[in-house]
Symmetry: D2
Subunit: 246 residues, 4 copies
C-alpha cells in the first residue's frame, strides 16, 4: 500500500501515513484518522500527547527514500553526479546493470525518458518490480539478462554499470551505446576501477574521460557551533566515465 501523506515534526522527524482510514501511531503519540483525512497540505496536526506535526503530500524523493533495499544501493550523491556529468535529461534513454534493488533505475526513471535495467538474480528482479510499482513508474523495462553475455538494446545515451567485473561488459555496452553516448562504471574498490579503466583505454570504441570520487561532508550549523560533523565521510565508490565514439 502506498504512502499517502508525510507528517514531519519541527525537528525534521518524518512519519509516513499509508492508510488514512486508520490512526497513525508514532513514538510521539498517535494522530487521529479523522484529522488525517480532513487535513490539507501544510496543516498543523496534533497527536494525542499534543505533539505537533505538519502534513503534506509525498514528493517523489520522499517515496524514493522508502523503497526496498535488499542489495547495497548507490548513494544519491553518486546518482546526482552521474546525471550532472552526462547530462541525463527528459529525452535520454538510459540503461543500467545490475539492477540490484533498482534504486538507480528508479531514480533515473523520474528524470529520463526511458530506463532499461539488466539483472540476473530473480530475487532482485522481484524487488525492482515492487519498487517500480511503489513509485508508480511507467518507463522502466526490466530484463533478466546477463550483461556480460549480451545487450539487446540499441541507441542508448548513457549506460551505467554497477557490477563486480565491469570490464566484462565493455564490448556489449559498445554495441548498445549511440556514438557520443556515455559509459559510466561505479565500483567501491580501486583494483576494479583500474581494471575497468585499463580495458577502456585499450578499446578503440571508447575515449576514456575520467575517474573520481564524490564525497559529501555534512556540517553542524547552530549558533557558534559551525563545524564539520564528527561522524565522518565514509566511502561508497569511485566513478569512471568513458565516451563511445565509434
Amino acid at each position: 500500500m502506498n504512502i499517502k501523506k508525510i507528517l514531519i515534526t519541527k525537528q525534521g522527524r518524518k512519519f509516513y501515513a499509508k492508510d488514512l482510514s486508520q490512526d497513525l501511531h508514532t513514538q510521539y503519540g498517535f494522530i487521529k484518522k479523522e484529522d488525517l483525512k480532513k487535513a490539507k497540505e501544510g496543516d498543523l496536526l496534533k497527536s494525542n500527547t499534543n505533539r505537533e506535526f505538519y502534513i503534506f503530500n509525498p514528493q517523489f524523493i520522499d517515496l524514493y527514500r522508502k523503497i526496498k533495499r535488499d542489495a547495497q544501493i548507490i548513494p544519491l550523491k553518486d546518482i546526482g553526479f552521474i546525471i550532472a556529468e552526462t547530462g541525463i535529461n527528459k529525452s535520454s534513454k538510459v540503461l543500467d546493470a545490475g539492477s540490484g534493488s533498482g534504486a538507480l533505475a528508479c531514480f533515473l526513471a523520474a528524470t529520463a525518458k526511458e530506463v532499461i535495467t539488466y539483472e540476473i538474480r530473480e530475487d532482485f528482479i522481484e524487488i525492482v518490480k515492487s519498487n517500480i510499482e511503489f513509485l508508480g513508474l511507467k518507463n522502466v523495462k526490466i530484463k533478466n539478462i546477463d550483461i556480460y553475455q549480451k545487450i539487446d538494446d540499441k541507441n542508448i545515451d548513457v549506460v551505467i554499470l554497477d557490477l563486480p567485473e565491469p570490464w566484462k561488459a565493455i564490448e556489449n555496452c559498445s554495441k548498445a551505446l549511440k556514438a557520443g553516448g556515455f559509459l559510466v562504471s561505479y565500483s567501491p574498490s580501486i583494483p576494479q576501477i583500474a581494471d575497468f579503466v585499463n580495458a577502456i583505454r585499450k578499446n578503440e570504441d571508447f575515449v576514456y574521460l575520467k575517474t573520481l570520487e564524490v564525497t559529501e561532508r555534512e556540517w553542524e550549523v547552530e549558533d557558534r557551533k559551525v563545524r564539520p560533523k564528527s561522524k565522518g565521510l565514509g566511502h561508497s565508490g569511485f566513478l569512471s566515465f568513458a565516451r563511445k565514439v565509434k
Copy 2:
C-alpha cells in the same frame, strides 16, 4: 550559430563544428568541409595532417559545457547533488535566483517540467537569454525581479538560491513553495551559510534539514600509476537544505 557536430580525438580533446559549409581548423590540422558534411555519427575523419577524429552529434551536456559564463557558475557536482537530494524530476516546477549566467536554470530545464529564474541585472538577463536560445530550451521563464522584494510565483517544488544574502529571500520563498517543497541555498562562505541556517531555524514555515559540502576528487588511473590527481580539490560552495512545511 549552434554547434552541429562534435569531433573528438582518441585522447579526449574535443572540437566543435558550427558551420558544416566550412573547413574546421584545429591545432592538429584542418578537416575538410566535404568530410564534415557527409560524415555519419561514429565515423572516423582525418585532418590534412592525418590526425584522427571521431565525429558525433552533440548531446545536451556538450552544449551545456559551451554556454556563456560571465558570472561564476555553480559546478555540475553541486547541481547534481541538488537534483538528487530534492528529487527534481520531469514533473517538477523549479525556481532559482539569481540567474547569473543561467547555468543552473538551463541545466534544470533539461530535467524539470518548468524553470523560473529571477535576476536583477539586465546584462546577466541577456546572457541567460542567449544561453537558453543556444540550448534550444522552451521551459525557462526569466523574471527581472529582485527576489528580496517579491516572488510572484506559487506552488513551486524546489527553490534554489545563489545569492549574497540568501536569508533576505526566505519569507518570499516561503510564499512561493508548496507544502513539502525544498529550499536550497548555495554559498561559498561559512558566515553566509551560518546566517541563512540560523534564520531558517527561527522561521516557523521551514524545517531545517542539513548543510554540506560536495567534493569531487579526480584520480589518475594508468597502469601502476593509480592515485589522486595532484591538482587538488578546490572549493565551490556549501549547500543548505530546508523544507517548507506550513
Copy 3:
C-alpha cells in the same frame, strides 16, 4: 603502576602487562607470570588456550596511547602537524594552554627541550601530573595560571592554544614568545577560528600565516579490497598559525 610489557596478537590486538608477578588475563585466555617474567623482546608466548602473543617493551607511543583522558584531547594527526609546521625540536621551548589532560604537553615533552603547560582547573592539573608521572617525563612544568590573565614565561619558541576564546590570550602570548616564534591555535569551530584570525590580523606583533584542517583517511587494503574505509573522516579541529615578529 606502569606498563612493563606489551603483548600483541598477529591481528594487532594489544595487551598491557603492568605486574609481571601476576598472570595476564585477556579475552583470549591468560598468560602465565612465569612466561611473562622470563620472556625476552620479540618472544612468542602462548596463552592457556594456545593463542599466540608477541611480547616487547613499550615504546613512548604505547604509553602515550594509554594516558588518562578526562578532557577531549587533540588528536595525534594535529600534534604531528604542529610539530612539522613549526619545526619543534630537541632545543625548543614550548608552552601550551589549557592543558586539559596534558596530552599535548606530554607528547611535546618527548620531542622538545622544555614544555610549560597552563591550566586553570585543578582537577585537570591532577590528571596532567598523573600522566607526566606515568610517562616518566622530567621536562614539563605545570602552572595553575589563567593564560587570559598573564604568562610569566619568556623567550618561548612555540605557544599552542586549545582554548574556548583564544583571542583573549594573544597579548600575553606576544610577551612570552621570542621574535620569530610561532603562535598556534586549535579550535573545533569556524567562528572561534575567524575571531582568532581577525584579532591576529589587527595585532601589530604578529604576522598571520595560515589556517587549515588536517584530515586522516584510513584505507582498507586486503587483496582486491583496496578502498577508503567506510567509517569516515570525522572532525577534530582547525589549526591557525601566526608568527611573532616584534
Copy 4:
C-alpha cells in the same frame, strides 16, 4: 653560506639575509648593511623605499624550508604524521631509505637522537651532505647502500621507506628493527601500497597496523570570507604502518 637573519613583511613575505656585510636586495627595495648588522631580534627595519620589515634569527624550520630539493620530497604534513603515529622522540634511533634530498632525514635529525639514511645515488648523497651541513646537524649518518640488498644497522626504533618497491626491503628492515619498532612506507600510488601491505601481511615478523592518507586543506579567513581555499588539496602519498614483533 648560511642564513643569518630572516626579514618578514607584515604580509608574511620572507627574505633571507646570508651576508650581513652586504645590503639585502628585495623586490620592495634594499635594506642597508649597517641596519642589518646592528638590528636586534624583533626590530623593525625600513628599505630605501620605506617598506617595513621585521628581523629575527632563523629557527630550524626556516632553514629546513630552504634546503636543496633535487628529488621530490615528502611534505611536512606526512613527516608530522609519522612522528606522531610512531612517537619518534629525543631518544629514538631512526633509519630512512632512500634519502633523496635528505629532507626526511634532516627533519627527523632535529627530533630524534640518531638518524641513518640509505641512498644508492651518489648525486643525491652530495645533496644530503650539503643539506646536513646547511642545517648544522651532527646526528645523521649517510650510507651509500642499497637497502634492497642489506642493512647493516641494528636496534632501530623506526624505519621509514620512500622507495619505488618498498616490499623488497621488508626482510632487511626486519633485521634492523628492534622488537616493537615501526616500519613505515610512503608511496604515491595505490598499487605500491597494496603490494607492500600484502607482503607485510604474509611476513611473520610484522603486525600490519594501517594505511591512510593525510590531507591538509587550507582556508581563507578574512572578515566574512571564511571558506576553503580554491586552490585545492593535491596529493602527495599514502602511508602504511606495520610493527616489528618478532
